[in-house]
C-alpha cells in the first residue's frame, strides 16, 4: 500500500530543505535562527501529514516557541551582530561537504533498494491524541516520569551553570 504523496508534501519539503541549507550557509547567526524557526515549523506540517497532530502541536510549542527564543536570546547575549561580518565557517568545508553528500546518497540508495517494508494494512485513526494520552498514562508511565525528572534536572542545571558567581 503506497501512501498518496500530496502537493503539500512537496511544498513543505522544499521549504524545509531550502531553509536548512540557508541555516547552515548564512553568515549572520540571527538570520540562521529565523530560518531554523521556518524549518522546524515546516517539520510540524510534515507531522500533520503523517497523522501526528499532537506531535505537531508539541513541535510548534517547544521548538518554534521555546527553543528558538532560547537561541535568539543566546545569540543576542553573546554576539555583536551589527558591526562586523565574521567568518562563520572553518576550513573543513570541502571534506564535510563530501562526507555529507556521500552519507545522503548512500542513505537514499539504501532506502530505495529496500522493498521488504512490512506495510501497515489500515490507516491510523484520527483520535491519535487520545490514544497517545492513554499510552502515556498506562504503558509508558515510567519513561514519562523519568523524562519529567530529566527536564527538572536540566532546568536546575541550566540555572546553576548560567548564574553569576557572587564574589
Amino acid at each position: 500500500m503506497e501512501h498518496q504523496i500530496s502537493s503539500a508534501f512537496w511544498v513543505l519539503s522544499f521549504v524545509i530543505l531550502t531553509s536548512a541549507i540557508l541555516l547552515v550557509s548564512l553568515k549572520n547567526v540571527f538570520h540562521c535562527a529565523l530560518f531554523m524557526v521556518l524549518c522546524l515549523f515546516s517539520v510540524a506540517g510534515i507531522f500533520i501529514l503523517l497523522d501526528a497532530e499532537f506531535l505537531a502541536a508539541a513541535q510548534v510549542l517547544i521548538y518554534v516557541g521555546a527553543v528558538s527564543i532560547l537561541m535568539i536570546f543566546a545569540i543576542m547575549l553573546t554576539n555583536n551582530l551589527t558591526n562586523r561580518v565574521i567568518k562563520q565557517t572553518n576550513e573543513n568545508g570541502l571534506v564535510s561537504l563530501f562526507v555529507c553528500l556521500s552519507f545522503a546518497v548512500g542513505a537514499i540508495m539504501l532506502i530505495s533498494k529496500t522493498h521488504s517494508w512490512n506495510y501497515r494494512a489500515n490507516e491510523l485513526g484520527h483520535d491519535n491524541s487520545l490514544i497517545l494520552g492513554k499510552y502515556l498514562m498506562t504503558e509508558f508511565m515510567l519513561p514519562f516520569e523519568v523524562i519529567s525528572v530529566l527536564l527538572l534536572a536540566a532546568m536546575i542545571g541550566a540555572i546553576a551553570l548560567a548564574r553569576k558567581e557572587r564574589s
Binding site: 541555516l23 547552515v24 503523517l50 527553543v67 532560547l70 564535510s96 562526507v99 501497515r120 491510523l124
Partner: protein, 99 residues
C-alpha cells in the same frame, strides 16, 4: 514512505554539514536541532506506514523532543558560561580541554 525517509536523510546530512563546518557554537546547536528533527520525521513516518502496535513511534518522537529541549537549555547555558569566561563563542576560543 520513501519520500519521507529521503527527506529525513537529506535533512540529517544538512545538519551534519552544519555541525562539521560551523565555527559558532550556537550555529552548531542549531544544526544539531535539524538532526534531531530528521530523526523525528523518521520515527513518525515508520509509525504511520509500518506495522507496529499502537503509537510507539510517536511516543518515542515525543521523548526525543523533550530530550532535545533539555539539551538546548543546557547547551545554551554552557555557551553563556563560555562567553563569560573567554569573551567569544567560536570553537577556536576554548581549547583548554585539548592536550
Amino acid at each position: 514512505m520513501f519520500y519521507y525517509l529521503a527527506l529525513a536523510a537529506m535533512l540529517f546530512s544538512i545538519g551534519l554539514f552544519g555541525v562539521l563546518t560551523r565555527r559558532n557554537t550556537i550555529g552548531i546547536l542549531m544544526s544539531l536541532e535539524l538532526m534531531f528533527n530528521a530523526a523525528n520525521i523518521n520515527f513518525v513516518a515508520f509509525n504511520k506506514f509500518i506495522v507496529t502496535d499502537g503509537l510507539t513511534g510517536q511516543i518515542f518522537a515525543m521523548f526525543i523532543i523533550a530530550v532535545a529541549a533539555a539539551e538546548a537549555a543546557l547547551g545554551l547555558a554552557i555557551v553563556l558560561l563560555i562567553y563569560r569566561n573567554w569573551r567569544g563563542i567560536d570553537t577556536e576560543h576554548y581549547n583548554v580541554m585539548k592536550w
